[in-house]
Amino acid sequence: MTMQALNQLVARSIIDPTVVDAYSGGKISDVLSLFDFSADMRSQLSGIQANTWAEYAIQAYGIVKVAEEQVSRITLPSPLEGLLPEKGSADKEQVA
């Protein structure tokens, strides 16, 4: 969702000058609050230092991408899961 929000923000910036105005005026956090970013992500994105809006967007992409990769690593099951024998059946084999 966060990358989707960033995509929407960047897409909007090409036809809506208020996005770049807010960035240039040091008020990008006001614009970020209009999109679906978590509070933590909004804080990270508000703290980016860049010379231009385009550089800001590229840096934001890097931050969001890393965050989304970490989330997907956490939510994915271990590849080992399902390979281990169930405890019950292992016990039965030992008895046999």
């Binding site: 909007r12 090409i14 231009t52």
Partner: protein, 168 residues
Amino acid sequence: MISTTLEERHWLLRNLAQGLIEYMSVTRPPVPVEEMLRHPPSIYERDFGVVDMYSSIWDATFARPPNRRGSIFVCIDIEPDKRHYALARETLTALITSEHGRRMGLCKLFTPFLLESADYFARQLLAPDSMVKAFRMRNGNRENFGLEFQLPARAAKRRWNEDGASAA
């Protein structure tokens, strides 16, 4: 100026194209690029335009005459799909050299990579991921892809094989 990777530039170009697609409120191909250039968003009133010309040198080229509106000068006697693509490709130059584009920092970022960036931008503008995905869900195939999106054969082949299109 920060250094950028190809992946980062492509991501930015996809979203710039998406912004224009949303402005046009278009959900199905072909994307009316020429219509947008003739009736641009207010922020690009001094940057978008189309002028037909005869040329044996180029298919289309963007120019900004002094104190006049920037325009894409397009060869009058090329095939419709090539005209469509050339206009989309030159739109990137119009965008990044516009006052708004320069203010965004797009000119500095993309000028060193303009040729490659303009072609990628054109493919994304004329065939955005969402439309390519919908096309494939309607059982669209590679043979009629170019026809439906009004893409020249080479551009259609490249777009079909790109991430987001082939994986859609």
